[in-house]
Point group: C2
Chain length 430, copies 2
């Protein structure tokens, strides 16, 4: 019977065959321990000379890393392994011998590993990160489906942008100029007026010449937009969503978090509600902490976000930023028109901003005024204005950066390991 | 109590408030019937002069299409409506009056509607199509999650392509040349070697100057790739997947299929297994039907696919195409090396090909030979070849075009209505 490593728990004390790769190996005289992987998991196969034919034992001793195999054996419980099972091998068949696999268990430089990303993904750590990423995606769909959101795919190719074209990738769209989308938000607002509550999940692009551990050129965003929901309603959805994602990973990625040596005690408490502080309070706090490089009206840098986050054991909302440092479409606070009904959500442990969101301007005249102040013209702004002309309603939305969320939950240093094939300054390969 | 139209069934004989837009209206002397929509659904609100204050009744008579409202009233069962409920209105509050909404219930030309796509999405038919699309997406994640597939996002920006650059959008990636991906398949093969079974769901781009009812410039694809799965295994996954999607839409989109006037009897029978015919049999069948414009070695056109599909009440697999008209990576049939272990899945009712798939070449020497025959050089082919060098295994995959699938299941003529903001030749707006 063929099965996968993820499914061996259904075959305890049965003989099964698994297609797999040799991940690692230990052997001494009359026994060989094969660390096998098949993509669904890792299992140890034990080959005892006295219990197999000579061919299988000789092969097992000679097997090279990443050779492909069919391995047949009896599944037994094994409380010492993370999986809980091991295989008493009866037969090993070689599919292909891998000669001189480039990534050995020794240390390699980052550039070397990145050049071999198509193979590096097979390592146990990278495998674990990809499984955590997958669980975050799965839990995202689960959450928004349960809450009645409709998935809407905004266009990637657009004729113009909400925030200038300097950081946009350009292409010729037959005879026109087109740009790769940095955010689907304007489109999601149109969709919310048609479908009530919507969310997108797709790639976004930023042609930014920055090279930090938090930046990717191509990254994935989740952008929900909700009609008849105000700023406070939106914060509730955000904290419920992030809690659901974290708790889902804790529940469904135990083996992977163990592989990543993630301190899960730092994740267990991530449950709604999350603390909220205003921008004003954050500035005051930073001054008290001795930061003299930030004044009211400045945006936070990474050190500021980290200092604020350190005061909390959950993500923290920083709300009511100065209007002038936020996007043109954010709704001013009726109680203080210098600040916006907006929030950034800062992850714990120095992982920085993972969500930016706001209530949107719904007043036609105020939006027209913003267009004049920001000199916004062009076709995209024509149709966007019509959303305020024909049945405008209060509405809010936010964007979550998938890769930063993967980095935080996985507990890894650099965002380049959070996406299967990262696109960085100077990296378009593989 | 605030609620949404989708949730009124939880509030029968209760007074609730709904944020909504006026979709349509009928009134006579002492009664007004408001067709309300809030994105989650459509409901009729009945305003009886004798039962509301004068302000509410006067407002209800004057309300214009797409004005935004808060409507309060009692929810009662109503077996005549598709929803099963209506509201006995007690109060109407105007949020914003929409003056001269451009899309009236009368007929409009296609270009006018496409120019107003940001508003057109609010119409009941477009709303229904977007909900069907959403259900197909939801069911896709459900299926692949249940089957143990890991979602993998291949890069959109790539340095080279499997199929030449003539139909690719080009951009400058800092100092390098980059192209928008037409398929993530090569990357998904690398991912399958790391994660076993993977699927992608993302946008793809084809800079093709064709203008048919089946073509989009930007469209979404689902591309599963499976290690240790041969051609026949892959066909089984495909028919299970498509069946799951169709049955999910039938179950969860009853109102929308009714709005679309879809003949659901044509969908009920879409259950695995699906019929399989070989390319040879298909050619023979077409000759018997009198087609003299196709010979062995030609690819099928739309009329051929339609003629073949008409013989079946399910999607049909056409298998074993001539190797020379298929992609370089397809595995030759060991029993007949002139044909590939591949299949196209043709939807019923003239909707054409919705899936293309194959077993991939796993032999290193044969792949090298293909590189020479097809003159494949460049960085992308270097790493792709390494997948055959280090632990190559039998593997198969396929790609499903989301929009064609939405068109078929929704029963609509033109693919431009299957995506929120279509990108067509000459259409980059809104
Ligand atoms: Mg910020
Ligand atoms: Mg075809």
């Amino acid at each position: 019977m063929k099965t996968t490593i993820a499914n061996v728990h259904k075959h305890v004390n049965e003989t099964v065959t698994i297609g797999a790769w040799l991940h690692n190996k230990r052997s001494s005289g009359k026994i060989a321990f094969l660390q096998l992987r098949d993509g669904t998991g890792f299992i140890q196969g034990v080959v005892v000379k006295a219990q197999v034919d000579e061919e299988t034992f000789d092969l097992s001793k000679k097997l090279t890393q990443e050779s492909s195999l069919y391995v047949t054996g009896n599944i037994v419980e094994d409380t010492r392994s993370p999986l809980g099972y091991e295989m008493q091998v009866e037969k090993v068949e070689l599919i292909q011998e891998a000669v001189d696999y480039p990534i050995t268990p020794k240390e390699h430089g980052t550039e070397f590993l990145m050049d071999h990303r198509h193979l590096w993904l097979r390592s146990s750590k990278q495998h674990a990160i990809m499984k955590v990423r997958n669980e975050i995606i799965r839990a995202t769909y689960e959450f928004f489906n349960q809450e009645g959101f409709v998935k809407v795919d905004p266009p990637i190719l657009t004729g113009a942008s909400a925030e200038g074209t300097t950081e946009l990738f350009h292409t010729k769209y037959f005879d026109e100029d087109a740009y790769l989308s940095q955010s689907g938000q304007l489109y999601m607002e149109a969709a919310a007026m048609a479908l009530g509550r919507v969310f997108s999940f797709g790639p976004t692009f930023r042609a930014e010449k920055s090279k930090t551990r938090r930046h990717l050129i191509e990254f994935w965003m989740i952008e929900p937009e909700m009609a008849f929901m105000d700023h406070d309603d939106s914060l509730e959805v955000q904290e419920q969503y992030v809690s659901h994602v974290v708790q889902s990973v804790l529940k469904n990625c135990k083996i992977e978090l163990n592989t990543l040596e993630r301190d899960t005690s730092k994740l267990e408490n991530i449950k709604a509600p999350f603390p909220r502080i205003t921008y004003d309070e954050a500035i005051e706090f930073l001054h008290e902490k001795g930061f003299d490089d930030i004044q009211w009206g400045d945006d936070f840098g990474a050190p500021h976000e980290t200092a604020i986050a350190e005061s909390y054991d959950k993500p923290v909302f920083i709300t009511h930023f100065p209007l002038e440092i936020k996007a043109f479409y954010m709704k001013p606070d009726p109680n203080n028109p210098n600040v916006a009904l907006c929030a950034d959500l800062i992850a714990p442990e120095g992982y920085g901003e993972i969500i930016g969101g706001s209530e949107r301007i719904d007043d036609l005249d105020l939006m027209k005024q913003r267009y004049e102040e920001h000199d916004l013209t062009g076709p995209a702004y024509q149709w966007y204005l019509q959303l305020r002309e024909y049945g405008s309603v209060p509405h809010s939305g936010f964007g979550l950066g998938l890769e930063r969320t993967v980095a935080w939950i996985s507990g890894i240093e650099h965002i380049r390991e959070t996406i299967p094939f990262p696109r960085l300054l100077n990296r378009l390969y593989p």
